[in-house]
Symmetry: C2
Subunit: 414 residues, 2 copies
């Protein structure tokens, strides 16, 4: 691996672009409300394109509206790519997504200015609709298009919160949904995404950045426990088949189990619906979700095996009927070992203090992994907040992350 050279990152530019991009869709103080294909999103994409063009990069839009900046290489061939999304939650903050798209553009500008033409082409990309915040079933829309995961007809089937199809929304901003497949690429040699952590781990460790060695695997299941609805007064405890009692035992057991496993295992019960949900009625049924994540494929399997065994045992013992419906399942996305090594040595050479950790949230990188080796860089989040106007990462930490990204791109492309 070539030894790197220090890349200088302009902290004033980092701050300027973060704040200027945040102005498109500015909402409730420090928030941003910028859903895909909205006027605010169009303005943000235009700004990204203008900034790249002004930096001397070759700019283009692909068939779904991802904005690409390219620094051509001497040797041509597959490109070293970095980027993230510029759509937000409703409202989100200034950093989730935007930080990574801008860090990629800033890294390219810095590399071009400081080192000239690379050996391999280097690209920055601003992806669209990662959040699924306008079209709930279209999460990772931009990155899915790039890896060929949008089928003909899909745009007409994806419906937004306001009832519009994504095909209609695309046409309204001058994109042709019938050509969404044209966004596909098979010439990406590596993809590195910078993103805010969205959790409190870096803050707890007092470190500005992390190298992400995996995106966690996730399983959502929806569980219904059915017992017998009865009078809360007239039915003795020993005669009940109470799904609430089974639910409480299961939730306690699964959450305690995740605590004992320790990081990075997480288990969350976030949604509960009780039938009939009356104060003086032993419920007939309790329906709830279990979101359980682990980035290690083997440990993840073992985690789910415990969940399945606990569900079965508790329901059998309590004479409850059990119905389990899978909702979502993603295998862990492991970072590429060579890219991890590049990031580690870049951090070491430039003395960037860092942690190695897994991502508990999903990211565009897990889509990009279908066509290229991937890795990620996390930047410290204040109090672990995200998906809220209160999310915050300092300019210093963003510069540290962007510097690490630029160093890695240098090592890979020069």
């Amino acid at each position: 691996m070539p030894k790197g050279k220090p890349v200088s990152i302009d902290s004033a530019l980092v701050e300027k672009w973060i704040m200027e991009l945040a102005a498109f869709g500015a909402h409730s103080g420090t928030g941003v409300w910028r859903t895909v294909y909205s006027p605010e999103w169009v303005a943000a994409a235009d700004a990204f394109e203008k900034w790249g063009r002004d930096a001397g990069l070759a700019m283009r839009r692909d068939a779904v509206g991802d904005v690409w900046a390219r620094l051509e290489g001497e040797e041509g061939g597959s490109a070293i790519v970095s980027g993230s999304h510029i759509d937000t939650q409703r409202p989100g903050g200034r950093y989730d997504g935007a930080a990574g798209a801008l860090a990629a553009l800033i890294a390219l500008k810095a590399l071009k200015e400081q080192f000239g033409k690379p050996r391999l082409p280097v690209e920055a990309v601003a992806l669209c609709e990662e959040e699924g915040s306008r079209f709930p079933s279209a999460g990772f829309w931009g990155s899915r298009a790039i890896v060929g995961r949008i089928a003909p007809g899909d745009p007409d089937r994806v419906v937004g919160y306001d009832g519009e199809t994504i095909a209609e929304a695309m046409r309204a901003v001058g994109l042709d949904p019938d050509h969404a497949q044209d966004a596909r690429r098979n010439d990406i040699a590596a993809f590195i995404e910078l993103h805010i952590e969205q959790g409190p781990v870096l803050e707890g460790a007092r470190l500005p950045v992390a190298i992400v060695d995996a995106i966690t695997g996730i399983r959502h299941i929806e569980v219904t426990l059915t017992g017998e609805q009865n009078h809360a007064g007239a039915f003795p405890m020993d005669r009940r088949r109470d799904p609430m009692a089974g639910f409480a035992e299961i939730v306690s057991t699964l959450i305690d189990h995740a605590h004992r496993l320790g990081r990075p295992a997480v288990t969350t019960i976030g949604r509960v619906d009780v039938d009939p949900n009356g104060a003086a009625v032993v419920p007939r049924s309790v329906t709830f979700t279990i979101d359980a994540r682990h980035p290690d494929p083997k440990a993840r399997k073992a985690l789910y095996a415990v969940h399945d065994a606990v569900l079965r045992e508790v329901c059998e013992r309590r004479r409850l009927s059990l119905d389990v419906r899978p909702v979502l399942g993603h295998d862990p996305c492991l970072s590429d070992p060579y890219l991890l090594e590049v990031l580690r040595s870049a951090a070491a050479e430039q003395a960037i203090p860092h942690l190695v950790m897994a991502s508990g949230a999903g990211h565009d990188s897990q889509q990009m992994a279908a066509v290229a080796p991937v890795a990620m860089i996390f930047v410290r989040s204040k109090e672990g907040r995200s998906h809220t106007p209160e999310e915050f990462s300092s300019v210093e930490d963003l510069v540290a992350g962007t510097r690490l990204l630029a160093e890695a791109l240098y090592k890979l492309a020069y």
Copy 2:
């Protein structure tokens, strides 16, 4: 206490009146939908009045529509009264309430026919709106009127599910809500109510009837646990303040505790509302109800002390904020020792196999206790079902209960 004489109860009449009353508001097969002041309720009250008049009893309606049958006594003075309600759930079954109103009427008819004029007056009453099934805040309306718990103006403040006030509904059936206070009585020497058990205890004991020595004390509280809403993936378990985890621990602990106390303690968590209730979000708050009942005043206090201590301890340890709102509280209503002795000796003399137990549900008797000594008789419920068209008690069991009631009335009034 005078030794009784066997009272003969006509089982054909028990079956006939149960079925004929059930025809008023017949619903979905074996169900009954008969809300207070509805045309079906008017028809049922008219039938009760006609049957009493045909039996030679003096009939009258009071100011809220309770129907009274009176068998005058030689000595006059305060009356020995029995009865229950004839309104139902939406839909309920044929027995909840109706069984007790008819048993009282049948007992009076039998006593009159078999023993003539008693020493003390004996009355049967068909009460109204015990269930609160048309006017949710008017539960025990008929018995509350009798004990003076309806204040002037109350009828204009009680609003039904359809938006009508109970004053309007009273006027529509020819009652004057401004005179509701006239229903008050202070000349009741004893009140004995027969009711179906609504639980599985008698069925489990293979016994037809029970003597009820107390109506349980009840406390409803609404609890909100508030923690910190976070990302289900990015927030490690050890950094969470998860109200769902606290909720599950509390529910498990309280339900286990009630199990260990054994009958007659019951604790029910029937209603849960989660904010924001998303599958991939550690909740911000969980709000739930705790319905906890015990018929022994001291044991009930101890039960609530455990609940309060568990809530405090779990919330403190888990760094959750705790908000507790009282919703409902009734002290236990203990049956009168002399009436219990009368019922016990009547059952013994007539060889009626029985259990002594507490009622876990509320009944008109707990209102009547404000003006008279009370006791209750339970009749076995099939599978403990009630508030459903499937509720069922056999004619044999109803006859056994009515016989016990008639024997007790004989001992008290003759």
